[in-house]
């Protein structure tokens, strides 16, 4: 038997070992369901609790309580009896819940009576001039390097963008003794006023106090330059400067060794969209979100989505959503989970969601940073630029799929993860339509690259052989 024995079928398969996946798997297994958890990374935690069981950053003050909270979840999962399969990339899921998994260079097919997709979020693209230069990296990536490898930036470091994660990484860096040259805050000036009506629920959400404390601590120690209205990374083979403007002011430059960008996160839609799960555009979060019922069940029977993949709500909400999905899965399979009580889960989830409209409004990224122009690269894989896309729109190109054929954007190995939102928004803006009307790339398996050889080694059906050989 190979080191990881994947069974032909499970009661429940959970994809992704972040907070939603860990909580869902724990509860399913406790409820007596045969449960498997596939995760692409080598260790549990997803990105938020990345490397929690093995991080070299053992001083708990550095990463903070919001990170270490993940230990309880992880422990509960480890003792739940769920099968955990790390370094396993789910590349295919059918509406009949057949699952293609790649691990250690080979692929297997398995199946589950219920599937919970917990593939989380991706950082929103931040297409500024020069964002492809070495030395420019997403702030999430910088944080992963800290959590998983204990790496701190050396030299002159600038963080730019907006959103809670930007401030969190700044705080963690300062805790670890790193120096920050500047934080370039791109939060549009008008956002505060638009967020104000949502302030009251946020005050009672539990995020307010910790958030304020963190913000104050960062602002005490790092120079924050607010009202940034343009950004450009400059350099030949590597970033050497960041150029920025404040408001309508003149361009200024800072010399940098590291530029970390972040403007929020968006659900990772590649797997659910490839299955054919219905999504809608969220104007509040400026991204695609799956259409789900109150338990996270998606438009395809037997498949649920929990965690930030269900709409951005943060790690704590992800846990509760994971539990709800697990309860629904158990119930559908004729089991029940004794505790927690569903009403308790719903109350906790409601509490976590309470502050979200405020955060969405406050940290809504500026249009200028979502809809680039000129020769700014939009598709990093195929090096398609904004002006090429805008020219193709003038040619009558109606949407992202025709755009893909005309310009190859979204055709590379990242499968649109780093350009899809930008392309949709650019087309919507230039055609005067909503992103909902414009739509998104049509996605298909494999949602992550696998080798031709591993696909070739899968079992064949007579119908498939006939379809190819006509014999």
């Amino acid at each position: 038997m190979n080191p990881v024995a994947i069974r032909d079928s499970y009661d429940v398969a959970i994809i992704g070992a972040g907070p939603a996946g860990l909580a869902a798997a724990t509860l399913c297994a406790k409820g007596g369901l045969s449960t498997v958890l596939f995760d692409e990374q080598a260790s549990v935690g997803g990105q938020i609790f990345r490397a929690i069981e093995e991080t070299p950053v053992t001083d708990k003050r550095v990463l903070g309580a919001s990170y270490w909270r993940g230990m309880d979840l992880t422990r509960a999962f480890r003792s739940s009896g769920a099968q955990y399969v790390p370094e396993a990339t789910v590349w295919s899921l059918t509406p009949e819940r057949e699952i293609g998994v790649s691990l250690h260079g080979g692929s297997v097919l398995t199946a589950a009576r219920r599937v919970v997709i917990c593939t989380g979020a991706l950082e929103r693209p931040f297409p500024i001039p020069g964002w492809t230069l070495p030395g420019v990296m997403s702030a999430g990536a910088a944080q992963i390097l800290l959590k998983s490898a204990g790496l701190l930036p050396a030299g002159r470091t600038v963080l730019a963008g907006c959103g809670p994660l930007l401030w969190l990484i700044a705080w963690q860096y300062l805790n670890a003794g790193a120096q920050l040259s500047a934080i370039l805050d791109t939060t549009p000036a008008g956002n505060r006023a638009r967020a104000l009506p949502h302030l009251l629920p946020f005050l009672f959400s539990g995020y307010f106090r910790d958030g304020m404390k963190l913000l104050r601590a960062v602002k005490r120690e790092a120079p924050v330059i607010a009202d940034i209205t343009s950004l450009r990374a400059i350099g030949d083979d590597r970033v050497t400067h960041v150029e920025y403007r404040r408001g309508n002011g003149a361009a200024q430059r800072l010399a940098v060794d590291n530029l970390f960008l972040h403007q929020g996160v968006a659900p990772n839609v590649n797997l659910p969209m490839a299955v054919g799960i219905k999504h809608r555009w969220s104007d509040e979060q400026l991204c695609w979100v799956p259409v789900l019922d109150a338990y996270g069940n998606a438009s395809i029977d037997g498949i649920a989505i929990a965690g930030d993949g269900a709409g951005i709500a943060g790690a704590e909400a992800a846990e509760w959503r994971g539990r709800l999905a697990a309860m629904a899965a158990a119930r559908a399979l004729g089991r029940s989970v004794p505790d927690p009580e569903e009403t308790h889960v719903r109350d906790e989830l409601a509490r976590c969601l309470r502050g979200r409209p405020f955060l969405d409004a406050l940290y809504r990224p500026a249009r200028i940073f979502r809809q680039p122009s000129g020769d700014t690269v939009v598709c990093r894989c195929e090096e398609t630029t904004a002006s090429q896309i805008i020219d193709a729109i003038a040619l009558g190109c109606p949407g992202p799929n025709q755009m893909k054929v005309f310009l190859r954007c979204g055709m590379g190995p990242c499968q649109g993860r780093l350009c899809g939102l930008t392309v949709t928004e650019l087309i919507a803006e230039h055609r005067g339509l909503s992103p909902q009307e414009v739509g998104y790339y049509r996605l298909r398996p494999p949602v992550k690259p696998i080798t031709v050889g591993e696909l070739a080694a899968l079992p064949k059906t007579d119908a498939a052989l006939y379809a190819v050989t006509r014999m």
Binding site: E40, Q41, A42, Q47, A51, E54, P56, V57, T58, D59, E87, L122, E123, T132, P134, G135, V136, M137, S138, G140, A141, A142, I144, L145, L146, S148, A149, G150, L151, L152, P153, A154, G155, A176, G177, D237, R238, D257, N258, N268, R380, C381, E382, E383, G412, P413, C414, R417, L418, K448
Partner: protein, 98 residues
Amino acid sequence: MFQRSQPDKAERTVTLTIDGRSVTAREGDTVAAAMLAAGIPHCRTTPISGVPRAPYCMMGVCFDCLVVVDGVGNRQGCLVRVRDGMTVELQSGKRGLP
């Protein structure tokens, strides 16, 4: 540019070759992290314009950290863990198929 924070505990290391250099990395590092820690300026050059790229997302979605690992091209450096004796080369443009 990155540096290692002071480790809180004695850590095991592995030695590998990256772009012809002998590099010591922490056991458990990904190839991409090891490259950044070692100051390797980029992972690959693109198959289209040939410009250099370095890791961008570190979570397996951007494909900018593609490298050649033990002769196999276009591996995602952020998803592969370092091993003793591993040879990592920069991915130069399109993948070769020797």
